[in-house]
């Protein structure tokens, strides 16, 4: 039986790359191939269905490496005699993390070094976005293609108590951002924008952050800025939430705003569009191509412009309705079934080609 295995440095069930890896295994198995996941660090919940890296069979026909950070695991993939496929999810540039988290900086630097070295050994690379693809093309990867990451656009029902709580407290414009509290996500710029919104248009505007903490130093700075801006009562960190709670946030907010400096894809933007939440975003890296025609794309993130955009959404019901419709339509392009089919066809073609 043909075997197509996957290698990933770390696998965890509540992580975008982890979920994608698990989903891709099912796609490969549905094609009739033998497929297992091998990893160095495995979440306790996934011990029984994944394997330690040492168990990777030497006679595998193809090995897919999930590339999103530097890891010694990558060397095993690079030396493996099988057809080598990289699935690239992007690596945050060291300039955006170096000052905040030394360990992460070392890992991303290693990742970028490995990415450059493997241009010669990688037979084919699948990238989440054209932005990611362009990075590999520049490094000289011979064969690359773009297929978005596999994820479930949640059909989960909103958590009722979260929804009630959010709706009970709401007064002004409710601005939502979902993502790790990390410098590349530019939470500080969102605070400046919402502070400007409050100053000029809507004194009750509230900013909601959903997502786990990244570098502790960055969270500390963001907290200092919140205090300095007099936004203590106007910003809420909700931390990591369940799928149901997340849906409640998408349904209760007025607008999703993303001012990230670097995104290799950006799943939360698609989730927001899927739930009919208007999206305003700074057009950087892969954000623009992910949103497509489904939201308002700003060429800069001057707080005054962002605040004006947020205010426009709050006051223009016609625009809101068109953004909702366009967003939903755009989100359909990332439907799990559609992406699964693309992966199936692509992997079949790769294995069948001589």
């Amino acid at each position: 039986m043909t075997s197509v295995h996957q290698l990933v440095p770390t696998i965890s069930p509540r992580d975008a790359v982890g979920n994608h890896t698990l989903a891709l295994r099912e796609v490969i198995r549905d094609l009739g191939y033998d497929s297992e996941i091998f990893s160095m660090f495995r979440h306790p919940d996934l011990m029984s269905e994944t394997h330690y890296i040492d168990r990777l069979p030497a006679d595998a026909d193809a090995v897919i490496y999930q590339l999103s950070i530097g890891s010694p695991v990558a060397e095993r993939w690079a030396r493996h005699p099988a057809l080598k496929i990289a699935n690239y999810h992007n690596i945050t540039p060291i300039s955006l993390v170096g000052k905040w988290d030394g360990l992460l900086a070392a890992e991303v630097q290693l990742g970028r070094d490995q990415m450059a070295r493997y241009a010669k050994v990688c037979d084919h690379a699948i990238c989440d976005s054209d932005f990611n693809k362009s990075e590999l093309d520049e490094l000289g990867y011979a064969s690359t293609t773009t297929i978005p990451v596999l994820f479930d656009l949640s059909q989960a029902s909103p958590d009722k108590s979260t929804l009630t709580n959010l709706k009970r407290k709401r007064r002004g414009t409710q601005v939502l951002f979902v993502g790790r509290v990390a410098p590349n996500k530019a939470h500080h710029d969102l605070i400046a924008a919402v502070r400007t919104l409050r100053e000029l248009h809507d004194n009750d505007a509230h900013l909601h952050f959903v997502g786990t903490d990244g570098p502790p130093g960055y969270r500390k700075v963001v907290e200092t800025i919140i205090t300095h801006a007099g936004m203590r009562d106007h910003v809420t960190f909700h931390g990591s939430v369940s799928q149901e709670q997340l849906v409640a946030h998408y349904l209760s907010a007025d607008v999703f705003c993303c001012l990230s400096d670097h995104e290799g894809f950006c799943v939360p933007v698609i989730e927001a569009m899927h739930h009919g939440l208007p999206v305003v975003a700074f057009d950087s890296t892969a954000v623009g191509e992910t949103i497509g025609d489904g939201g308002l794309l700003l060429s800069g993130k001057n707080p005054l412009i962002v605040a004006s955009a947020l205010h426009r959404i709050d006051t223009d019901s016609n625009l809101v309705q068109r953004l909702r419709d366009a967003g939903r339509q755009r989100a359909n392009a990332f439907d799990r079934i559609v992406i699964q089919d693309r992966f199936s066809q692509h992997i079949s073609t790769l294995l069948e080609s001589p």
């Binding site: 170096g98 500080h188 400007t196």
Partner: protein
Amino acid sequence: MSDSRSDASYFKEVVTEIEAEAQRRASSGEYPRALLRSLDEEFRRWIPDASLENGVEDTIRGIETAAYVDPAVPVDSKTPVGRCIKWVVRRLTYFYHRHVTQQITALGIHVTRPLRLLDASLKSVNRRLAALEDRLDVGTVARSELIAGIADISSTEQFGDALCEHLESVSGRVLVGDVLDVQLLRSLRNRGVDVYGVASTDTQVQEMVDVRQEDLFDHLGDLKNESLAGFVLCGIPDRGSINEQLRVLRLLLLRSKPGAAIAVIVINPNTWATQLGPVATDLLHGRPMHAETWSYLLAREGALEITITESSDSSCFLIAATLP
């Protein structure tokens, strides 16, 4: 069903309208620029001082913690018999595990020593680099040697009356720095202005005149935001690098209250070039900025009633304005 193409053009039109609206608000002075500048300053202030400084420290601590390997293997088990067997095995093999783990721990400690040395070295390099960042053109020593060629750095004397008129109605502290004109301080004080001076160079301190002898950047670094009712900036615009000039303006604006009366005195760049000669002019590529440039920078910050006054001999300019 929405039409993707018409949506795309509609959304682009909306963004254009939003940008125009923002531009209109910015030019009408509604933009809370002072607040945003202070948020930006806050962010800059709290970014870790040097790249990797904290991270390396944390990483080394992590290695040191991980380097300690516990030789006592857990004996938890689902059954009492299993626990008993594990306990016996642990007792019997303890000498072996302890021997191995001690060597691993020692290795960890040896590994972290050179890392700590590297860390110290990196920190030192980073500190020096940070100090150099504001002097990207030429070093301080070279700059002061070259700048000594200027016979007459712009003086506040020629603008004494205009400054007194501009500042006499302000309520609160007014800073004059960093070239000191004691006569100006005295005149302002006599007109009831709560004025003080800051000068890094030796200045003969007169009675009844409040003069702080310290670096203007250090002084501004210690001041609270919005603590000044006005300022007169001179000296640094004549001899500072572009970085220093922009930085001092940024700090002064940050420390000034809304409505503050502000003034900048700057040498005429042509006078500056003539006095210095071609060599210094070429080497000091951080030249004085034109009065129009100062006016532009102040307008960008939303300053109102900006006026430019030329001295009688055309050697320098006074740029006066009021903050929004």
